[in-house]
Symmetry: C2
Subunit: 367 residues, 2 copies
């Protein structure tokens, strides 16, 4: 019986953070222990949002009691939106304690910091996330978060390579998954034919890349797989939270779960701490899990999009900031219409047969 600790935001209404992650993991059979980093009415995409953030002191109280009660022994850990540095530091401390107890902990770190050039956490969160990277088994940054963590602006193919190498070698992250990458023309031209979408469908595709560190490779080059997927029109919240939860839920590596030797000292994959086990990369497990997470997330989004089309006109209005400004509830109604249809699509969440978007090897990624 596998057990996940999920440390995420909580909203009363709708499906982001924990509300997007916990139910899918429960459907996959995981007991999920849930610590809320905020308690809000709804996500911030609505015109108004309110509630409280959980303080570092409150988080410490909950985690300390859990530890005293021997309840801090999860097999897996998922961390998402944590908006301020003190609570994040408290959580980083818990991650270290969990790893000491269970060297085989599978930790998916989603470094939620911003999107599309815009930071929506306090800037002092960034160095703490950097310090946590070596503890993670998998990270799922978006395009902007890769840039923020590595300080490499992603403007051409060499910059993608450079950023990935920094994550794998400097920050010792074994597995990196970047979903929803816009297919810029410079990216499109370097895609192998097995990954490039056909000409006629090019504009509305996004790219997902999975990169597993290759321990045997002295260059620090990783093993990369990828897949282009058709983009679903409109903006939906909680998609990244759902994707990360599914990725963690489907990741099955014998390298972590069957127990591997603790790597100590300053070995090639160690990060200098003699006590905390270094997570392992696993190209096969990562590619399979990403395939399942990507296919399921896409199916849930398609389902949600179809439902949205059936809503009253008020709730499927196009994005229009000017119209929103003159009518405050316009934006809110659109947001409500675009909440993920997780409950109605629950039959999709448990399906693992014939995933639609299989990741394929990107053999010459480093060539």
């Amino acid at each position: 019986m596998a057990r996940v600790l999920s440390v995420q935001s909580h909203v009363a209404y709708g499906y982001v953070g924990g509300k997007a992650a916990v139910f899918p993991l429960q459907l996959l059979g995981y007991d999920v222990d849930v610590v809320n980093t905020v308690n809000f009415s709804n996500h911030s995409g609505y015109a108004r949002a309110g509630g409280t953030k959980t303080s570092a002191k409150e988080l410490n109280m909950i985690f300390n009691i859990m530890e005293l009660n021997e309840l801090l022994k999860q097999d897996r850990l998922l961390t998402g939106y944590i908006p301020s540095s003190e609570p994040l530091a408290a959580i980083a401390d818990v991650v270290r304690r969990l790893k000491l107890k269970n060297p085989n902990l599978v930790y998916l770190l989603d470094p939620v910091m911003g999107d599309a050039g815009c930071l929506y956490v306090a800037p002092d969160v960034i160095p703490i996330y950097r310090s946590m990277l070596p503890l993670a088994t998998i990270i799922t940054p978006n395009w902007f978060e890769v840039e923020t963590l590595t300080q490499v602006p992603l403007v051409d193919f060499p910059s993608i390579r450079r950023a990935l190498k920094i994550l794998h070698t400097e920050y010792k992250v074994p597995n990196v998954v970047i979903s929803s990458i816009p297919l810029y023309s410079w990216l499109l031209v370097v895609l192998p034919p097995t990954i490039r979408p056909s000409e006629s469908t090019v504009p509305p595709h996004l790219l997902c890349i999975a990169s597993a560190a290759d321990i045997g490779n002295q260059d620090g080059n990783s093993r990369v797989s990828a897949r282009a997927i058709p983009q679903i029109p409109g903006y939906f919240s909680g998609v990244g939270d759902l994707f990360s939860a599914l990725l963690l839920g489907h990741y099955r590596s014998s390298r972590t779960e069957a127990g591997h030797e603790e790597i100590k000292g300053n070995g090639i994959n160690g990060f200098g701490n003699g006590h905390i086990a270094t997570p392992m990369s696993d190209y096969g497990a990562l590619t399979s899990a990403t395939t399942l997470a990507l296919s399921t997330t896409h199916a849930v989004l398609s389902f949600t999009h179809k439902r949205t089309l059936g809503l009253p006109e008020l709730e499927r209005l196009p994005t229009d900031d000017e119209a929103d400004a003159s009518e405050p509830l316009r934006r809110t109604r659109r947001m409500r219409g675009r909440e993920l249809a997780l409950i109605q699509a629950q039959h999709i969440l448990t399906r693992t047969d014939e995933p639609r978007f299989e990741l394929v090897p990107w053999g010459d990624f480093w060539a």
Copy 2:
């Protein structure tokens, strides 16, 4: 697409309050909006528990923003553990607002106050719950809570009748369900043969009573059905929370959902407020829903009990306060072993065919 607002306690670890109620409702297809009245590490049965209670101010902030965002339009409402009077008063206010918006709101009020002679909320919570009773469609008090609300000590059969009549006529509660009633000898002898368990199995049974107000009956006598069920050994937490959630989820009354006329003024079932619709009783819907909730809860408990038997000895120790006192973690380990197996038993939660414990009419209850 039905939507439930669940206002309950939250624990990081284990299955009580919202953690026992939300997942089953989601499996039944409900979108569940979740407002946490406390954020704790674990339930209070463990030797240690810690966290924070949500203040009335915080609750008001969340509910007010939800209302401004037009997100306070649920079809159903479930309220559980709310430990202090100020937050409870804030929630009572929200219930009134919800009912004004939706006269057909189905509200299940679980007046969580204590058990077995022991009050575990502040005493000033009691009058507030009394004032909320006329707003409820269904209430699910336990034996002690019936006594506390009605101030009738339940010591013989006439006192049960008196207490039920007070709830139906004085507090205008249309539907009352009391599960897990100990089969005292005075209760056993008044049970009709169709409800009384056979001699050989008598000791380990509990009684569940469902009582629906009979609007046409001038005496205020209700229509009662009941069922005796075998007791599962040991104490499990969250059972009442699970039962109430399932009862709300399965309650399907055409009297509320098809829309009934708002009853105004001081009609037989009105409570003097000209604006808030009075909930309706529905004997058939109540009996069916109680049958399903009872059968499913029992099946989940049986499953959990069997799993408990397979645990290491440390986690299935018998209750022994003396031994607990000398070894603080003993109690904690036993509690951990007795958390409801909701995730592993999820296939049970959605089954509605051939419920095992059908409630049968108690025709001469008032005779």
